[in-house]
């Protein structure tokens, strides 16, 4: 079934309410998926306690009332069968492109995708956590926690340096049991270190999902004149003619992407390249379909 409700990125970029954006994305995402991509929700009975005014009557154990003439309500302990952590790259390079009235930056795109993933995971009753910038939220389930994650995502901005490798290690160590590690980044950080940390996380039993997010401009370098390129993270500048540099740039970029694709495949990571001019729902859908059919 094809997805027809995928909202264009430029529209999503103009909506400031990240929860609404996540709902829109998820709405376009789950239509056509016949079963949950994540493990199901379950609740275990914990104990009885005396009824107190205001308790939901559906939890009253009427058989026990009939036997004992006392009104007890049942208490449950919610359990999840999966914990997940979203690692969101907030380095300066994710702030590209900067110009325009409401640009769909890579970070904005990643934040929308992260919100949608959190919405999906939380909606299944599973625990989800977040690690981005200086914010860390441990994996938990529930709507309140989801709202907290969405609020945290809304408050994050891209800027400066941010080590993806270090934060992958932090996230994998803080997942108390085997879980799902979702990393959204352009992966311009140190390739070897990042790859090493991902392998270590995989050895700890985590399932690794990599969303590499890039813009069309940085893949194709479509400029045709002299430009002084300034590194968004280091501030270092290089004045070149873009049209003269295009061939070598696109070759190097293709090699970079191929390296990530082949390494992820070799290690059993789920890897997807997401370009910001495609709807986030479409990119996530491919990933979810792959999980459903796994």
């Amino acid at each position: 079934m094809t997805v027809s409700t995928a909202c264009p990125p430029e529209v999503l970029a103009q909506i400031s309410d990240l929860e609404l954006v996540a709902r829109i994305v998820v709405e376009g995402l789950v239509s056509g998926l016949h079963r949950s991509p994540f493990h199901g929700y379950s609740a275990e009975f914990s104990q009885y306690r005396h009824y107190r005014p205001g308790d939901d009557l559906k939890y009253v154990d009427w058989k026990l009332v009939a036997r004992t003439d006392r009104v007890y309500t049942k208490q449950f302990r919610e359990t999840t069968n999966m914990a997940s952590a979203i690692v969101l790259d907030t380095s300066g390079s994710m702030g590209f492109p900067q110009a325009g009235p409401a640009p769909m930056t890579k970070f904005r795109y990643a934040a929308i995708a992260a919100a949608a993933l959190a919405h999906l995971i939380s909606g299944q009753g599973d625990a989800v956590g977040l690690l981005g910038g200086e914010r860390y939220m441990a994996a938990r389930a529930g709507r309140q926690h989801l709202r907290g994650i969405l609020a945290a995502l809304s408050s994050l901005t891209a800027g400066g340096t941010w080590s993806v490798a270090d934060n992958i290690r932090r996230a994998s160590e803080r997942l108390s049991r085997r879980g799902l590690l979702l990393v959204l980044s352009d992966f311009y950080d140190d390739e070897e270190r990042t790859h090493a940390e991902l392998k270590r996380a995989a050895r700890r039993g985590h399932e690794i999902v990599l969303f590499q997010i890039l813009s069309r401009e940085e893949i194709e370098l479509p400029y045709g004149r002299d430009l002084e390129f300034a590194d968004l993270e280091t501030g270092r500048a290089l004045a070149i003619n873009a049209s003269l540099a295009r061939r070598s740039y696109t070759d190097a970029m293709a090699s970079f992407l191929e390296r990530w694709h082949s390494r992820a495949g070799a290690e059993g990571f789920h890897y997807s390249l997401n370009v910001t001019d495609t709807p986030p729902a479409r990119a996530l859908r491919q990933f979810l379909l792959a999980r459903v059919t796994r």
């Binding site: 352009d186 400029y223 002299d226 300034a230 993270e233 003619n241 003269l244």
Partner: protein
């Protein structure tokens, strides 16, 4: 080629503006934030290559627009053969009319020549020399054409001189036309003279090249206009000198023109009668001083006087030296006063210099009768032929008198070039769109 506003040619420097803008715009690479530099290889900057002009045709057209506008502002005037011929076909004429003239005299030349007259103005020809100068000035400010002055006058001797004709610019033609024939003889009143017997009216009769006069008794009280201040012992000699002067007949001065002569012995300082000297500011006094200073008889006799005025103050303002004695000092000096001309002299009352000085002063302070209007001798036809000349063709017109210059053609060229520039720009939409798209991406 002439230029109406040559300073506007400095605006030609503006043609460098498009080239400079092109070069300056290409020099600087715009700063562009980018995620990472790891895949970018250093290259040479294209702006160095683009110093070679990218679109020379468009640039040339734009430079030509500015150049044409600058030239149009400068107001060019091309001296073509047809323009010169058109100017030479027309005549601007100044007619100087002295006295009554017939209608025919005011329209000199044939019918064809009259049709060629583009502008014509009549000047009152009295005095004739001044009218010629005014006519020449008017012609110099007239539009380019053959220009001429037509003098319509009886042409009596003295009314025009060779100097008056020489003062007219050479390209202006001069034509003489006698309006009337002068009478063979004419008698005119020539003022009054003072004689030993009283005042007489003088009548001058001009007959051909001969002049005669007749003095007629008039019933008027003779007034000697000169007071002489001297020592008491000099009075008889002074009276004798005055009588001698009157016997020779001098011009009678009006009652408001008076003079005082102070005879000062050579060794003394300024006498009482000369102490109120002031600089001369009254015109008739100034004229009188000039005429006395030109008196040849006074200069001749002054050299026989051994000593001049000893006081050095007579050699400086407000005194003006009239004649010099044998010792180089002033024999006579003049200054003004509140109501009369002051003359100080070192001449002795008994010397010949005193009556000569008195005669000179009496004739100088009286108005000189002008007999020019009574002249009956005409300027010879031969002289008038020598002074006559045709109007010269226009060689270099005064640029401020040209009615229409050639700037309209340049403005037309500017409009045409603007249209061409627009067409050229629209011819290259792909390049423009590509650039705009790239600008949008960079922005």
């Amino acid at each position: 080629m002439f230029w109406v506003n040559p300073l506007a040619l400095f605006a030609l420097a503006a043609t460098a503006a498009p080239i400079l803008i092109h070069i300056l715009i290409q020099r600087r690479a715009e700063r562009f934030p980018f995620p990472t530099l790891r895949f970018l290889q250093p290259t040479r900057l294209a702006s160095i290559r683009r110093h070679v002009l990218e679109d020379p045709v468009l640039l040339a057209v734009r430079a030509a627009i500015l150049a044409a506008a600058a030239l149009a502002l400068a107001g060019p005037l091309l001296l073509t053969a047809s323009r010169r011929q058109a100017w030479d076909r027309r005549i601007v004429r100044a007619i100087v009319v002295d006295g009554d003239s017939s209608t025919a005299a005011l329209a000199p030349g044939g019918e064809g020549e009259q049709r060629a007259v583009m502008m014509q103005r009549q000047f009152d020809g009295h005095p004739l020399a001044d009218s010629i100068r005014r006519a020449a000035l008017w012609l110099e400010t007239s539009p380019p054409a053959r220009r001429e002055i037509v003098l319509v006058s009886p042409m009596p001797i003295g009314s025009i001189t060779h100097a008056d004709i020489a003062a007219v610019p050479g390209e202006i033609g001069i034509r003489f036309q006698r309006s009337v024939t002068l009478p063979p003889a004419r008698t005119a009143a020539a003022g009054h003279v003072l004689t030993s017997d009283g005042v007489r009216a003088r009548e001058v009769t001009l007959t051909g090249d001969r002049t005669s006069f007749r003095d007629v008794d008039v019933n008027a009280v003779p007034v000697w206009p000169i007071d002489v201040v001297s020592g008491a012992g000099d009075r008889p000699a002074i009276d004798s000198a005055i009588a001698a002067v009157r016997s020779q007949r001098v011009w009678s001065a009006p009652s408001d023109r008076r003079a005082r002569v102070v005879l000062i012995p050579a060794s003394t300082a300024v006498a009482d009668g000369a102490s109120d000297a002031v600089p001369i500011t009254v015109p008739w006094m100034a004229d009188a001083v000039v005429r006395i200073a030109r008196d040849g008889d006074l200069h001749a006799v002054s050299r026989s006087v051994p000593a001049g005025l000893a006081d050095p103050r007579f050699a400086s303002a407000p005194w003006q030296t009239l004649a010099v004695a044998a010792d180089g000092r002033p024999l006579a000096a003049a200054a003004g006063s509140s109501d009369r001309l002051l003359v100080a002299s070192s001449a002795d009352a008994t010397s010949l210099a005193s009556p000569v000085l008195l005669r000179s002063i009496a004739n100088a302070i009286a108005p000189v009768p002008d007999l020019q209007a009574a002249e009956v001798m005409p300027i010879a036809d031969e002289v008038l032929r020598q002074w006559s000349r045709p109007p010269a063709p226009v060689v270099s017109p005064r640029i401020d008198t040209v009615e229409q210059d050639d700037r309209r053609w340049l403005w037309l060229a500017v409009v045409g070039l603007l249209a061409l520039e627009t067409w050229l720009r629209r011819l290259r939409p792909t390049a423009v769109e590509r650039r705009a798209a790239e600008d949008a991406r960079v922005a």
